[in-house]
């Protein structure tokens, strides 16, 4: 099994979700995140005092998939999240040792 983590632009989350459903993903977890990469932050001004905000809002998506589905999911995700502009984000995959479905106690690929 693999854990695929993606950091994407917030307005791309719906597109990504639809694309992943189309390739057979049955569940995902999203959370709001902030960070910086090559995309710059922004400036705010309050009564003449300028604040530089380096962290940019992003959404983190986490998906657990079976090994054979991983590449297809990553490709669909990247395609859906891409705008071609700086700040499109990152996707990475990691091996997962075990998964348990809390309700039934099923383990491994059965729990996905």
């Amino acid at each position: 099994m693999k854990l695929i983590t993606a950091i994407v632009k917030p307005f791309k989350v719906e597109d990504v979700k639809e694309a992943l459903k189309d390739v057979g993903v049955v569940g995902m977890t999203v959370s709001e995140a902030q960070g910086f990469g090559r995309q710059g932050g922004h400036t705010e001004v309050y009564r003449g005092a300028e604040y530089t905000v380096d962290f940019v809002p992003k959404v983190r998506i986490e998906i657990l998939v079976e090994d054979e589905l991983a590449q297809e999911v990553i490709e669909a995700l990247v395609k859906a999240a891409r705008t071609g502009q700086i700040g499109d984000g990152k996707v990475w995959a990691m091996p997962v040792e075990d998964v348990v479905r809390v309700r039934t106690g099923e383990r491994g690929p059965d729990a996905l």
């Binding site: 705010e44 001004v45 309050y46 009564r47 003449g48 005092a49 300028e50 604040y51």
Partner: protein, 451 residues
């Protein structure tokens, strides 16, 4: 004295309008602080309504507007303490000045000014005052600063009034007075930790703009109500108030556009307040064109003055100095240029009055400023040395909402723990005994278990 029902109705309505400014101010300031301090700010403003209202009835009204003590024009006697002699005319208002409203209407109207003035100070010392220390400072300030200054300038028996200094609705008494007191108190308590290196941006500019709108609305009572009648002078003050405010709003956002490249909502709200402040002393002495000039000048000067605190390393947190001290002094001085006897009062420099009025205005600014600064500084030091005025580092980091009031302003997170109830209010022992005969169902409900 003939009571006029129209005048009475207008000044009563104006009193309510002016009271409304203090919650407006609370929101204006509350939006500018961080989420952990918003309740602390609102609470400071609300408790001022409590403290000053009671003191006013007990004796500060009498100190401010009572029979002059010794004829020096410095302070009133306790003749009206407890609002005794409620039908006796306000001392000094005789002849052409005579009021056509019941004296208690005047008491109510002036009370609202006495409330908002110390409330203005809360912006200077935001995020770092102990609640108890703040309460003590405000009570002392209402007695030892506001009452004498109001007597000097507002009471016809006060020395600055008799001297000929003009202040229609409180440029010196309210704004200069509170502005310089804020600066003095900020000096006493010191800077917020990590200011100015750590960003402390406003948490809710919509609240700030809502508050500014409430201020603008209430200010019609403040200024036009100060005519103490429903008449031509009230109408002039009304239109001048709106005109100068509009001009200052535009002037502030133009200034910041040139300086920072963007016009901001905080700038629009601040500009409006700066205009309201500057026209306050002048609104019954200048014409509409004069109020445009005063608004344009004040909006620009106050916007530029916000940079001073960084140069002076003085944490006047929400710019009470830049807006109220600078704005109040600007408006009071500009009467010396734009004042015209065709509206009311004496002629200023531009209307053939020479420098006389300007000189008197400068004396009033200097006297009120020096007195307020020194006495406020002493009050601050006294409270700091006794019950304490500043919260400790842990409480400042935690925020005033929780450290001073055991509350949180916003529960926004879905996951945020609300904790569990560890204590519920108990009825008084006497109440338990009295009610236990009739009913056994008086125990505090077991909360949490059934939800």
């Amino acid at each position: 004295m003939q009571i006029d029902s129209g005048n009475t109705a207008w000044v009563l309505a104006s009193s309510a309008l002016v009271l409304f400014m203090t919650p407006g101010l609370a929101f204006f300031y509350g939006g500018m602080v961080r989420t952990k301090n918003v309740l602390g700010m609102l609470m400071q403003n609300y408790v001022v309504m409590g403290i000053v209202s009671i003191l006013w009835v007990l004796f500060t009204y009498s100190l401010a507007f009572g029979v002059d003590w010794g004829g020096h024009g410095f302070i009133g006697t306790l003749h009206f303490a407890g609002l005794a002699h409620p039908t006796q005319a306000v001392p000094g208002y005789v002849g052409p000045l005579a009021q056509s409203i019941p004296p208690l209407v005047f008491v109510s109207f002036q009370l609202m000014f006495a409330i908002i003035t110390p409330a203005l100070i809360t912006g200077s010392t935001a995020d770092r005052l102990k609640f108890g220390g703040f309460v003590a400072v405000i009570a002392l300030w209402a007695i030892f600063v506001y009452a004498p200054v109001a007597h000097w300038v507002f009471s016809p028996t006060g020395w600055l009034f008799k001297f000929g200094a003009e202040d229609f609705a409180g440029g010196t008494v309210v704004h200069l007075n509170a502005g310089i007191a804020g600066v003095a108190l900020a000096l006493v308590v010191g800077r917020r930790r990590h200011w100015p290196k750590e960003p402390m941006p406003p948490h809710s500019l919509p609240l700030t703009l809502l508050g500014a709108g409430m201020l603008w609305f209430g200010w019609f009572g403040f200024n036009a109500g100060s005519a103490l009648g429903a008449n031509q002078l009230a109408a002039q003050a009304f239109i001048n108030t709106n005109t100068a405010t509009a001009a200052a709003l535009l002037s502030w956002i133009a200034t910041e556009k040139l300086r920072n490249g963007k016009s901001t909502t905080l700038g629009a709200a601040s500009g409006a307040v700066a205009g309201l402040v500057a026209i306050t002393p002048a609104c019954g002495y200048v014409n509409a064109m004069g109020s445009i000039a005063i608004g344009l000048i004040a909006g620009c000067i106050c916007a530029l003055a916000t940079s001073l605190k960084f140069r002076l390393k003085l944490d006047d947190s929400l710019d009470v100095g830049a807006v109220h001290l600078v704005g109040g002094a600007t408006g009071a001085l500009l009467i010396g240029f734009f004042g015209t006897s065709s509206v009311g009062g004496a002629d200023g420099l531009f209307y053939g009055g020479g420098l006389t009025l300007l000189g008197k205005q400068a004396v009033a600014i200097g006297a009120v400023g020096a007195f307020s600064f020194v006495v406020t500084f002493l009050i601050g030091k006294l409270v700091s040395a006794t019950i304490g005025l500043r919260v400790d580092e842990a409480a400042e980091h935690q925020g005033l909402d929780n450290s001073q009031h055991a509350e949180t302003a916003y529960e926004l997170g879905l996951v945020l723990s609300r904790g569990r109830i560890t204590s519920t209010p108990e009825p008084l022992d006497g109440a338990v005994a009295a009610r236990s005969e009739g009913s056994s169902e008086i125990r505090t409900p077991a909360m949490g278990a059934d939800s």
